[in-house]
Amino acid sequence: MNKRVRVVVFLKPGVLDAQGQAVQTGLRALGLEASEVRVGKAFELTVPEERWRERVRELCERFLTNPLIEDYEVYEREEVPTP
């Protein structure tokens, strides 16, 4: 079996989130109410089920995120049969 996971990445609190600010400004201009907007990235990917948590952690720390500036969270999606 394989595992489908989702990873959500945001800048760490101390790093200026320029895109979040830009989106906030854009929303305001349209008269839409929202505050403390942050913009991040999301990934969905399939990994072998065996030791999947560990595998995903490695993916995230070696490649998908830059641990110096980003935090991430991992969500399970579902199990998928290996083709």
């Binding site: 854009g26 201009a29 349209l30 008269g31």
Partner: protein, 733 residues
């Protein structure tokens, strides 16, 4: 219960009944559903120019340096011995309305590949944009998305955006205009084309894989409306991949180096269908295509989907038989897909196989020779009334305040916040960056020679008087190029209008084309290519007819490029060119009186030609220090811009003998063929003599100096500090 009415198959494919009958007659049978869909797209206005082709015949296309005129993917003109430039403009209006970011980005990708198809390396882009007023948040959002999309694609592929224009009117709210022009360079002796020649030669597919992009955007999607309604929405937006676009440029240029490529074309609108049909029709050959060899991104695509997909970043090439591997290797080295997908045949028939099944069998010319239509042209009564409107007796605002309002008006303000989002320096050619009348690029291949580029158009003038608008676009683009000291050598035009089936739009189309044609003929500048975008309408009506013209000029020595801003205190300030101005269609009338009315000045093309000549000579001989053409906002705005650009003031007098007593007209009136120059005093006599010999009027206005713009008028005096002018002009919203 009402009966469900069956949509006829031709209508579902986007054809009229007569067109369907014509297809049947051409084939001697009914087309199968796949073939019908191919006709539906190939005979669309976008691909077939059904309503515009008859008019476009009027454009002058030949000239001394022209190596390829319209008809190929881009025009080609010689710019130095042995060196040629390919140029072309393209619109991406509807895609940008649906998704401003991706719509504009794919517009950039498409025009780059048109230029690449000639064998040229793209070296510059220009963008001509129209939006609703920036006070409207939706319009501003569209603008931001479009600019971000152009920036995303252009910056990533490494082709500098060196110029453009942005203008705002209510009519563009729901239907923005996004025209992008591209210029590429290539050896004159190695101009490629798209004619599929040499039966037995291979047809090679190269680039990104094929997905269902762009399918269903056109009317034919209704064939399977039930299953595919979500799909058809998706088809309206195509996503570009600038990285793949960059790879495609490099790999294609490398493939062309092998000498094994016979012809090439990008797969844009109507995808493989259009490329295969046009290439074989041009070569008077046929093609056989094996669709299962086409690299795909999605499973389960039907032959029709493969044939009609508008996936981006793909090229179709004809390659000498036996040398395929050399070409495939170039693409694969750059990480792209490349496959032999068919052969050129002597028999002029386009055949496509899906496995063993023959799914398409059509003469290519049937696909490319769509019928053309002439709609009776009719000027609307209301338009004439608008043009004849009496503009005397308007209230006269304080001239200094009026000037500041004009500088702040979105169409006049500095576009720096836009062009700094574009990499305009990459490739190390940009000698005069955006911000001047035209950009200047050096030709590293032929120093110290350079080319100058500008794109211009004025929808308001075209709305009031289509002929004047078409001619004015040519005049403004050529004049901008001459203002930096370059000789205009070719233009490419983009025509953006409403629904051509309406007599009013037909009248506009005829007028703008005639205006462009007459101007280009009179100036001796050929039109080497162009683009037509029709049906720019929303429930709020049509856009103003908006011809835009991109002009390419050549200068002998880039170090002699003139600046826009005043340079040195004590220089003489003068106005050279036409004296004729009008408030008709002016920015002043729009911004201060909320009106679009009156009769714009029709250019005196003979005078314009002499003026271009004077400017080029003056630059070559080093007679003038700066030149800036008068456009939106007239003389007052041009003076203010020259002060701001130079960071220095000026003192001028508009004498009643020369300028009359109607100060709104003399300050803010607009008209073609007018240039503000500053001239070192010791050269003024020589410059005046040059103008006199050429029969071009020259009016002395005053002197450069001080830290304010000081204007003495018959009935008033205006004095505005340059810092105040600057802060108004930088009030970008």
């Amino acid at each position: 219960m009402t009966a469900v009415t069956q949509i006829p198959e031709w209508e579902a494919a986007g054809l009229r009944r007569e067109e369907y009958e014509r297809v049947c007659a051409l084939l001697g049978r009914r087309p199968n559903p796949t073939e019908l869909r191919m006709f539906g797209v190939m005979w669309s206005e976008h691909c077939a120019y059904k309503h515009s082709r008859p008019y476009l015949k009027r454009l002058p296309t030949a000239g001394p340096g022209v190596l390829r005129g319209p008809g190929e993917n881009a025009g080609v003109v010689e710019v130095a011995p042995g060196l040629a430039a390919a140029l072309k403009v393209e619109s991406h209006n509807h895609p940008s309305a649906v998704d401003p970011f991706h719509g504009a980005a794919t517009g950039v990708g498409g025009i780059l590949r048109d230029v690449l198809s000639m064998g040229a390396r793209p070296v510059a882009l220009l963008d001509s944009l129209r939006f609703g007023p920036p006070e409207d948040p939706q319009s501003r959002r569209l603008r931001e998305g479009v600019v971000a999309g152009i920036s995303h694609y252009g910056n990533s592929v490494g082709v500098p955006v060196v110029g453009g224009e942005v203008l705002y009117e209510d009519c563009y709210r729901a239907n923005p205009l996004v025209n992008v022009a591209c210029v590429g360079l290539l050896p004159s002796s190695r101009v490629f084309g798209s004619a599929a020649a040499g039966p037995g030669n291979s047809v090679v597919y190269a680039g990104a894989r094929t997905g269902r992009d762009g399918i269903g955007g056109a009317a034919f999607a209704s064939e399977q409306l039930e299953e595919t309604s979500a799909e058809s929405d998706r088809g309206a937006v195509q996503i570009g991949d600038p990285f793949a676009g960059k790879l495609l440029i490099e790999a294609t240029l490398e493939a062309l180096q092998t000498g094994a490529v016979v012809a090439l074309q990008d797969m844009g609108a109507a995808g493989i269908t259009c490329a295969a049909a046009e290439m074989s029709a041009r070569g008077r050959t046929g093609m056989v295509l094996y669709l299962d060899r086409v690299p795909r991104r999605e499973r389960g695509m039907t032959p029709a989907e493969v044939l009609l997909s508008e996936s981006q970043e793909r090229m179709l090439l004809v390659v000498q038989r036996g040398r395929e591997e050399e070409v495939l290797r170039a693409y694969r080295r750059w990480g792209l897909h490349a496959e032999v997908v068919g052969q050129v045949t002597a028999e002029p028939v386009l055949r496509a196989y899906d496995g063993d099944a023959l799914v398409v069998e059509l003469p290519p010319s049937a696909l490319t020779d769509a019928p053309t239509y002439r709609v009776p042209e009719q000027e609307p009564q209301a338009r004439r009334a608008l043009r004849d409107a009496d503009l005397s007796g308007l209230p006269k605002p304080d001239p200094a305040q009026a000037l500041l309002s004009l500088l702040r008006s979105p169409s006049v303000v500095s576009k720096r916040p836009i062009y700094t989002q574009y990499d305009h320096m990459v490739q190390l050619r940009t000698v005069v960056p955006p911000g001047a009348d035209a950009a200047v690029l050096r030709l590293l291949e032929a120093p110290p020679r350079g080319i100058a580029l500008s794109v211009d158009g004025n929808g308001r003038i075209s709305y009031l008087d289509p002929w004047a608008g078409g001619a004015a676009a040519v005049c403004e683009a050529t004049l901008n190029v001459a203002c930096v000291g370059a000789r205009p050598v070719a233009v490419t035009d983009g025509l953006n209008l409403g629904n051509p089936e309406r007599p009013e739009v037909a009248w506009e189309l005829a007028g703008v084309v005639d205006g462009i044609a007459d101007a280009c003929r009179a100036l001796g500048v050929p039109v080497v290519g162009g683009n037509v975008s029709l049906y720019n309408e929303s429930e709020h009506g049509a856009v103003y007819p908006t011809p835009v013209v991109a002009c390419l000029g050549v200068m002998e020595d880039v170090t002699r490029a003139l600046s826009t801003g005043f340079g040195a205190a004590g220089d003489v300030v003068a106005l050279v060119g036409s004296d004729r101005v009008s408030l008709g269609g002016s920015e002043y009338l729009r911004t201060l009186h909320g009106k679009v009315a009156g009769a714009p000045v029709r250019p005196d093309l003979g005078l314009h030609r002499r003026l271009l000549d004077v400017l080029v000579r003056a630059a070559e001989e080093g007679l003038v220090r700066s030149a800036h053409d008068l456009s939106e906002g007239g003389l007052a705005v041009a003076l203010a811009e020259a002060c701001v650009a130079g960071g220095i003031g000026a003192r001028c007098t508009l004498s009643p003998e020369l300028f009359g007593i109607q100060t709104d007209l003399s300050l803010f009136g607009e008209g073609p063929s007018r240039v503000l120059v500053s001239v070192p005093p010791e050269r003024y006599e020589a410059f005046a003599a040059l103008c006199a010999r050429a029969g071009v009027p020259l009016r002395l206005l005053g002197y450069v100096g001080g830290d304010q713009l000081h204007l003495r008028l018959p009935d008033a005096e205006v004095a505005v500090p340059v810092v105040e002018l600057r802060s108004a002009w930088e009030a970008y919203r």
